[in-house]
Amino acid sequence: MSDAALPPPVKARGLVKRYKEVLAVDHIDLNVRAGDVYGFLGPNGAGKTTTLRMALGLITPTEGTVELFGRDPMRQGARALEGVAGFVEAPRFYPYLTGRKNLELLAALDGDDASTRIDEVLDVVELAPRGGHRVGGYSHGMRQRLGIASALLRRPRLLVLDEPATGLDPAGMRDMRRLIRRLADEGITVLLSSHQLPEVQELCDRVAIVDSGRVVYEGALSDLRRQGGAGYRLRSTDDKRALEVLRAQPGIEHALAEEHGVGFQAEESAVAELSLALGRAGIGILVLAPELATLEDLFFRLTEDRDGFGSSTREAAEESPSDTERLVSTQ
C-alpha cells in the first residue's frame, strides 16, 4: 500500500465538545497528513487542548469523530493509539519516582520493546545524567524533555505535542525546536499545538488556526501568507499626497499612513500602474517594497478581525479551492 492510500495520521470531522453552556470546540475538522509538521494555532482558550484530548481519546466528543491512522480512539481505545505518542498540556509524571523509573513504568505500559530504548531516549533529550533523580526535583524544562523522551519510547509515527516550549528559557526553546525539526526530518508526523507564532512559523508547513472553538483557517502556511495579501510599503518625497493618489488608484486596497511612509495591499499589475500615477503627480518614489505578512499579522487578523481579513481569505479560497487547503467559514 502506498503512503497515499494509508489512512491519514489525524482526521477529525465535526468535532464538538460542549460543557453545559460552554461550547469549547465547535465543529472542528482537521486533516494532518503523513510527514506534516502541522501547527495547531490559537489563542488561549480557543479549544486546542480540548481538541487534542479528544484526538487522544481522553475526553469524549459531544459530536463528531476523530481518527488516528484510521482508528477511532473512543471506540478502539489503546489500539487506536498505536504509533501515536505525545502529551497534552504539561507532561505529568510520578514525582516520587525517578525519571528513569517513570520511563520504565511507561515503557511497561507500552509493551513491546519500549523498555530497551530508555537509555537511548534519555540521551536524546539529554537527561541521562539526571535519570536517577526524582522527578519531583526536576525543573519545568526537564519535565518537558522527559515528556518528549516518554513519547519517543513508543517509536511514534505521529507525535502530538501541546505547547512543548512553554516555560522554557530561550536556549531551551531553541533546543526543543531543533529536536522537533530533527524528529520531523526522520519521518515522524508532528501535530504541534502552540501559541508561539515564531515556533510555528519556523517548524510547521501546514497549520490550522482555531478561534473560539472553530477552525478559521486550515492549509499550507505558505498559502496562508499568500492569501494574507501582498503588502507593500511606499516611501516618497510627499507621503501625504502619495496617500491621496493611492486611495484614488484602482486595485489599491487598505492604504494607510504609517510611521515611515504608506502601507497598502495590491496586485503586482496595480503597483506598476501606481508607480506611473505617482510619477504623473510629481511624487518621487524613495522606496516601494513588497512586505509579506508575518504569521503573527495573519494570526491576529484571523482571530481578531474575522469580518476583515477573514472574509477576504475565505473569498480567496472560494475562488481557488484545492484539495490541499480549506478555509473554514467562521460564520
Binding site: 480540548t50 484530548r53 487522544l56 481519546g57 481522553l58 475526553i59 469524549t60 481505545g77 489503546a78 493509539l81 498505536e82 504509533g83 501515536v84 505518542a85 505525545g86 502529551f87 497534552v88 498540556e89 504539561a90 507532561p91 505529568r92 509524571f93 510520578y94 514525582p95 516520587y96 519516582l97 513504568l105 511507561l106 511497561a108 505500559l109 507500552d110 509493551g111 513491546d112 519500549a114 530504548r117 537511548e120 531516549v121 540521551d123 536524546v124 533529550v125 539529554e126 524533555r145 516518554s150 519517543l152 519510547l153 513508543r154 517509536r155 511514534p156 509515527r157 536556549a171 531553541r174 533546543d175 526543543m176 531543533r178 529536536l179 530533527r182 524528529l183 526522520e186 519521518g187 515522524i188
Partner: protein, 292 residues
C-alpha cells in the same frame, strides 16, 4: 539538549503492531507505585503499631482480670493466640477500614490530582486494564494490612504469652496449631466486608477525583452505618448493614463452625461491593480526563 539532539539517533518510525502489555504488568506497576509512596506506609504503620502497643501495654500492666469484656480478653495473658483475635475484634471496626480507605480512596483520585491519569491512558493499555490493576492494587493493600496486623499481633502475643491452646466463643478448647489456623482464617473471612469497603473507596475515588474526599467519604460511610445501627426502630435493617458484617468471622471461632453469618455476610457484602465496583468501572471507562 542541542548537541546531543543533533547527534543522537531518535527511535525510527515504524508501522508494525506492538505487543500490548497484560493487565498483570499494569498491576505490578500499580504495586510498585504504592511501594514508592510514603502515604502507603501510614495505614500499614497504624495497623502494626496498635497490636504492638497493646501487647506492650498489657505486659507493663500485667492485667489478668478482664474476664468481663470478652472470652479472648479474659485469656489474653494465658495464650499468645488470644492477642490476634482480640486485635481483629478491635481493629476490624475502624482501623482496618480506615487503612483500606486510605489507599482505595486515593488510587484513582491521586492520579487525577497529579495529572498522571492522562499520561498512562495515552499508552498501550486500555482503561479497563488500568481500572482492574488499580482495584486489584487496592485489594492487595487491604489484604496486606489485615494479614500484616494479624502476623504482628500473633508474633507479639506468642512472644509475650506463649503458643498455647485457647478457648473459642463456644467455650471449647482448641489446640495452638488449630487456633493459629483459625486466627488466619478469621482474618481471611474478615476480608469479605473489607473488600466491600475497598469497592466503595474506589468508587468514591473515581467519582470525586479527590483523594481526601474519597477517603473521608469512605470512612464517613462506615461511621454512618454504625450510627444507623444504633437508631431505635431500625433493628430490622441491621443484619443488612455493611458494618454488621465486620463480625462475620466470629462464626469460625465457634464449635461447630457457624457458617450462617459467613454466608450471610458474603451476599450482603456483595450487594454493597459489586454495584460499587461496577459503577466505578463504568465511571472510569466513560469519564473525561480533562485535568492536569
Amino acid at each position: 539538549m542541542s548537541t546531543v539532539a543533533a547527534s543522537a539517533h531518535a527511535p525510527a518510525a515504524r508501522a508494525t503492531r506492538p505487543r500490548r502489555p497484560s493487565t498483570a504488568t499494569v498491576y505490578r506497576w500499580e504495586l510498585r507505585k504504592l511501594v514508592s509512596q510514603k502515604r502507603t506506609y501510614l495505614g500499614l504503620g497504624l495497623v502494626v503499631i496498635l497490636p504492638l502497643f497493646f501487647v506492650i501495654f498489657q505486659n507493663v500492666h500485667q492485667r489478668h482480670d478482664r474476664g468481663g469484656d470478652n472470652i479472648f480478653a479474659a485469656q489474653i495473658t494465658q495464650s499468645g493466640l488470644a492477642t490476634p483475635v482480640l486485635m481483629l475484634l478491635f481493629l476490624s471496626v475502624f482501623m482496618l477500614p480506615l487503612a483500606a480507605a486510605l489507599v482505595a480512596g486515593d488510587v484513582v483520585a491521586a492520579e487525577d490530582g497529579n495529572g498522571t491519569l492522562k499520561t498512562i491512558l495515552t499508552r498501550s493499555v486500555n482503561r479497563g486494564q488500568v481500572f482492574a490493576a488499580k482495584a486489584l492494587a487496592a485489594v492487595t493493600y487491604a489484604t496486606l494490612a489485615v494479614f500484616l496486623s494479624a502476623a504482628v499481633a500473633t508474633v507479639a502475643g506468642i512472644a509475650s504469652w506463649g503458643f498455647l491452646s485457647v478457648r473459642t466463643f463456644s467455650g471449647t478448647i482448641v489446640s495452638a496449631p488449630e487456633a493459629l489456623l483459625l486466627v488466619f482464617a478469621a482474618n481471611a473471612i474478615y476480608l469479605i466486608p473489607l473488600m466491600a469497603v475497598v469497592a466503595i473507596g474506589v468508587l468514591l475515588s473515581t467519582a470525586t477525583r479527590n483523594s481526601a474526599a474519597a477517603v473521608v467519604g469512605t470512612v464517613g460511610f462506615v461511621i454512618l452505618l454504625f450510627i444507623v445501627a444504633q437508631i431505635p426502630g431500625l433493628e430490622g435493617i441491621k443484619p443488612y448493614l455493611l458494618t454488621e458484617q465486620f463480625e462475620n468471622w466470629h462464626g469460625l471461632l465457634r464449635t461447630p463452625t457457624d457458617w450462617a453469618p459467613i454466608a450471610h455476610s458474603a451476599w450482603v457484602c456483595a450487594l454493597y461491593g459489586v454495584p460499587a465496583l461496577f459503577a466505578a468501572y463504568l465511571v472510569f471507562l466513560r469519564r473525561d480526563v480533562a485535568g492536569g
